[in-house]
């Protein structure tokens, strides 16, 4: 490790806030991308289930008429 202590690593000779902000925001943006992927996935699954439910409902109805 280049730095002698955790405190020095955090401070980085005064550049710490800039550097840590950049790494933090990168982690945040990447997480947001993954969360958005997850959110869309759940929405799409919900819509597929809707299609299945409607299909089953209409099938049951047809059965009931017979």
């Amino acid at each position: 490790m280049y730095f002698d202590s955790i405190g020095e690593l955090l401070a980085m000779d005064g550049h710490g806030p800039y550097v840590w902000f950049c790494y933090g925001i990168t982690a945040l943006v990447l997480c947001v991308i993954l969360f958005e992927a997850r959110r869309r996935r759940l929405g799409a699954e919900q819509r597929v289930r809707g299609v299945v439910r409607r299909k089953q409902a209409s099938a049951n109805k047809a059965k009931g008429k017979e």
Binding site: M1, Y2, F3, L9, M12, D13, G14, H15, G16, Y18, V19, F21, C22, Y23, I25, T26, V29, L30, V32, I33, L34, E36, A37, R38, R40, R41, A44, E45, R47, V48, R49, V51, V52
Partner: protein, 257 residues
């Protein structure tokens, strides 16, 4: 197997869904490993730059984000061209999937660039050629997303976006070159540049790690978005319904993403 059968196989959403499903854990794991490993390496293990001090460590997130954002636009253009020329539906889904990821990474590149500018140039924003070009790239992404949202018809949205993305891709070299030229006219003397050539090889290695990590992350996210798009578009097919509903019965077997 001829190239055309490969092409058609790749064009099949179902085959692509199954194939990408096998890739996902590898891409995700490897990209996170490289990104986190590269970040630790770049943050704590490498010595600082003798001119910029520790603020140069931002390079390990800024440069990968900008590079992938640029490459993503070109990929989007290629996908758009494939969709227009061969009417491959999957290409349209890939194109739609890339837009939000590319826009987020461009935003990230701008933000980290601005924060990097403060300790090195003493100001948050400089109208320098490269930053301005990335800003324009961000605008291009936003235009594509806005155009896609404006259409109600999915097919028309995909085709219109494909045309726009290709027009943008043809324009990007012209825009970049123009901005470069514009900047050379106005270059203020107070800003001095630290060229990449001054970077020491030991400092370059973590960059290779985060760079490849970012590319893999992009591929991972792109597959996730594309797979969702496939489920959405093919929701009337049996195989999609089977995939979604088989997960319902045994929830513990469902993957996290």
């Amino acid at each position: 197997m001829s190239i055309w059968t490969t092409f058609h196989k790749w064009g099949s959403p179902r085959w692509f869904y199954q194939f990408s499903g096998r890739l996902l854990p590898w891409l995700g794991g490897l990209s996170l490993l490289l990104l986190i490993g590269g970040a630790v390496w770049g943050l704590a293990l490498v010595p600082p730059d003798y001119k910029q001090g520790n603020s140069f460590r931002i390079i390990y997130v800024h440069v990968p984000a900008s590079a992938v954002a640029m490459g993503a636009y070109m990929m989007m253009a290629i996908a758009g061209a494939i969709h227009l020329i061969w009417r491959m539906k999957l290409a349209a889904m890939v194109m739609k999937a890339i837009a939000p990821i590319g826009a987020s990474l461009t935003f990230l590149a701008l933000l980290t660039g601005a924060v990097w500018g403060k300790p090195t140039w003493g100001t948050w924003w400089v109208w320098d050629a490269r930053i301005t070009s990335v800003l324009i790239l961000f605008f291009l992404y936003l235009g594509v997303i806005a155009l896609h949202q404006a259409f109600e018809n999915r097919e028309a949205a995909a085709k219109a976006c494909a045309v726009l993305v290709i027009v943008g891709a043809v324009n990007i070299p012209i825009i970049y070159w123009s901005v470069e030229w514009w900047y050379s006219l106005h270059q203020p003397a107070s800003i001095r540049f630290i060229g990449e050539s001054s970077i020491h090889p030991t400092m370059l290695r973590p960059l290779m790690a985060t760079m490849s990590g970012m590319y893999l992350f992009f591929a991972w996210a792109m597959l996730l978005f594309t797979r969702t798009e496939i489920l959405d578009r093919e929701r009337n097919t049996r195989w999609v319904q089977d995939i979604v509903c088989s997960g319902d019965k045994k929830p513990e077997s469902r993957s996290v993403l």
